[in-house]
Symmetry: C2
Subunit: 425 residues, 2 copies
């Protein structure tokens, strides 16, 4: 059993936190931005320093590989992304990259024997913050293996046309243009593929409060929850706030508020504490204080492992669409849905026994959030490791994971990979 | 008793509807825009044609005056605005200007004897659509007479700095710059004032469904309702939609929805059908489908004649601020409030008896909306006349009033003015 270095991990956290430092403890590091390039350069510099070979594919993914003892063996890959949301934290994504680096650095430093080449990887544009959608590049690379209804949303040609958010001035106009200008457009022959790669690991902060509350440093992830995303639109009509009697109004915001409360009441009746659902977006038209809103739409994101439970929620949503709300009609639209993606059982077992061997506190956990790993899982045997997150906060500047926990995560990752190196076929 | 001309009124409606025609039956005619200048030129052309003298003050208000038989008599003024909201209708504001023109044209055509000079007036920037706030210029002109808490919001110097909405490309940057560039910046000595003016009338579409429902063509307005405007802000904390358990959430949108429904329930218990209240605006942060909202704010506009009833609503709002909503705090902010403004009783009487004399169906009515007349009322005896509005719609392209009703409105306005000419001191 090998352990990773707390000092080296702490140094990496400190170093990478500078690239895009937003001045309040967190970072803004959009994909392919100057800040993201600094992080990429740092990765390449450190990986070259341990003798890893660098490859870059045509969508700017970077692969740093240490050769193994068996020249014919496929590679074992681990990595994550260096890009962040706006005013995000120092851990989401980058911790998976730093953990991958730490694994290779520990292997190199200790001359740990391994048959398979080991690859640390940076995924491009996971967040999709500047160029939507999220998980764009894993969607491109794994496209041939994804279910058709997901694959169609990630076609290479369309993704290259993804426009940068307007608020980000001075940015290239499309993802394709940013890629061309980045100096990181390499060769498609280096893309992750089942021909060359055996299996995939991704370490990531939990982004929830479950591990912290249970006092466990590490989560052994078994799946990414299935989910669906709907929009609920309420249509009434606009009229003047001062001149239109209450009894004649068809107020779309009152309608949406009633329906949102009803939604909570009905879903709560299902008695499923592990179900999560979120109404994160709301749009109101015309959104003027003197005008009764004629159109209000809110989003609904629902996640649960069991498709039957998701189906029960969908029934409630469909029922809402048949009802009148403050005199308004409700129309629902399915934006997307995806099934629960289960990790490879053998790989999950390696993670679990690696944590046991190292005597690191751990528990089984689901991933509620989406990650590049979930697209890779359609192409390669894959699993994930979660690291305890302070207060469950992520996608914000106070996002935090202790260096000790980050190092424990890397240790579990290293030993799980070594088990795969010996055992996995 | 004199009657106005349906043909002439219909021609005016047709002509002015061209200036800013937005292609869907309505107009976009921002104050001081090229479209608004066309309407101003048309007004001047037609008023000069009947021998009226044109004056323009330093905030671009236009006054067209027919002399009376008494050289020492003060003027009687009537008018409204030619500017509109974005994609507004062909009646809000401009009908009051067309009615004023129609009154002077009828007087001129029939050589109707009158002691007092009669002035038709265009107010600048009533809507404040491009340069907020609404009723900007009447707020400037009547500033010395307004209650201090209102007056402070309409100081000349500050109003000149009002910035154009960014979405209106190519516009001048501030109201002051637009005014300088307009060619309509005249002399402050022409401003409406009690020295030169006796009293003020404004004709306007009702903007509500009350007259239509009662089958009355004309509303004899007695007051503008007192109102208050509050913001209610709910603060929780943001977390990831997929990873954060329901039981630990402090969801600001759920909080706001619950409070909005509670507000309706509690206000409805007051049993005041004539009370109107509107939650027209809602802002959600960060408004991302995968993030639990940490901050949601909605506006509340409340209008009723009786200050005691408004106070009862304010008590409910204050109570909401003391309660917890879905684990979130609520903070309230008063944006503005104003008392009910009652019109001059004598002038209201003239309008009523003018409608009776002409056998035009009418009823007493309050104004729920604000108008320039309500600021003028602090300076000069003032009243208003409402014209039936189809389906109560206004501030939208389907806004409509029948030419017959518009002409009836002008006839009532003409005869009320002639009564004031004889009787008012």
């Amino acid at each position: 059993m090998y352990t990773c270095s707390l000092d080296r991990m702490t140094d990496k956290i400190k170093t990478f936190s500078k690239y895009g430092d937003a001045g309040h403890g967190g970072i803004t590091r959009y994909s392919l931005s100057p800040e993201a390039k600094l992080a990429r350069e740092e990765f390449i510099k450190r990986m070259k320093a341990i003798g890893a070979e660098i490859e870059i594919d045509d969508v700017a993914n970077i692969y740093a590989t240490l050769p193994g003892t068996d020249p014919g063996a496929k590679r074992i890959v681990t990595g994550s992304h260096v890009d962040s949301v706006k005013n995000g934290g120092n851990y989401d994504g980058i911790l998976g990259v730093m953990s991958a680096m730490e694994v290779l650095e520990t292997v190199a430093e200790n001359n740990i024997p391994h048959k398979h080449p080991l690859t640390a990887m940076i995924w491009t544009n996971e967040e999709g913050s500047l160029y939507p959608p999220a998980m764009m590049v894993s969607g491109i690379v794994c496209n041939d293996y994804l279910p058709p209804e997901i694959a169609k949303n990630f076609k290479y040609e369309n993704m290259m046309k993804s426009k940068a958010m307007e608020e980000h001035e001075g940015s290239a106009k499309t993802f394709g243009e940013a890629l061309d200008a980045s100096g990181y457009k390499g060769d498609a022959k280096y893309r992750l593929s089942p021909d060359k790669y055996l299996c995939n690991f991704e370490a990531h902060i939990e982004q929830g409060p479950i591990l912290e509350e249970a006092g466990n440093d590490i989560g052994v992830v078994d799946c990414v929850l299935g989910m669906f995303n709907y929009s609920l639109k309420f249509t009434g009509f606009a009229a003047h706030a001062g001149t239109f009697p209450m009894s004649k109004r068809h107020d779309a915001l009152y309608a949406a508020s009633q329906a949102l409360c009803y939604l909570h009441d009905e879903i709560d009746k299902l008695g499923r504490p592990e179900l999560v659902y979120t109404t994160g977006e709301i749009y109101c038209h015309p959104c003027v204080h003197t005008v009764i809103p004629d159109e209000v739409e809110f989003s609904l994101d629902v996640r649960h492992e069991d498709p039957k439970v998701r189906e029960q929620v969908m029934e409630i949503v469909k029922k809402i669409a048949t009802m009148k709300w403050a005199g308004c009609d409700c129309e629902i639209r399915e934006n997307w849905k995806r099934d629960t993606v289960y990790w490879n059982e053998k790989l999950v077992g390696y993670v679990k026994s690696a944590a046991e061997d190292a005597d690191i506190s751990h528990q089984m956990i689901h991933s509620g959030a989406g990650h590049d790993a979930q697209f890779v899982a359609y192409m390669l045997p894959t699993t994930m490791i979660f690291i305890q997150t302070k207060d469950g906060l992520s996608h914000c500047e106070p996002e935090y994971a202790k260096p000790e926990h980050c190092t424990s995560g890397a240790t579990v990752l290293l030993n799980a990979i070594l088990k795969a190196d010996e055992d996995f076929e």
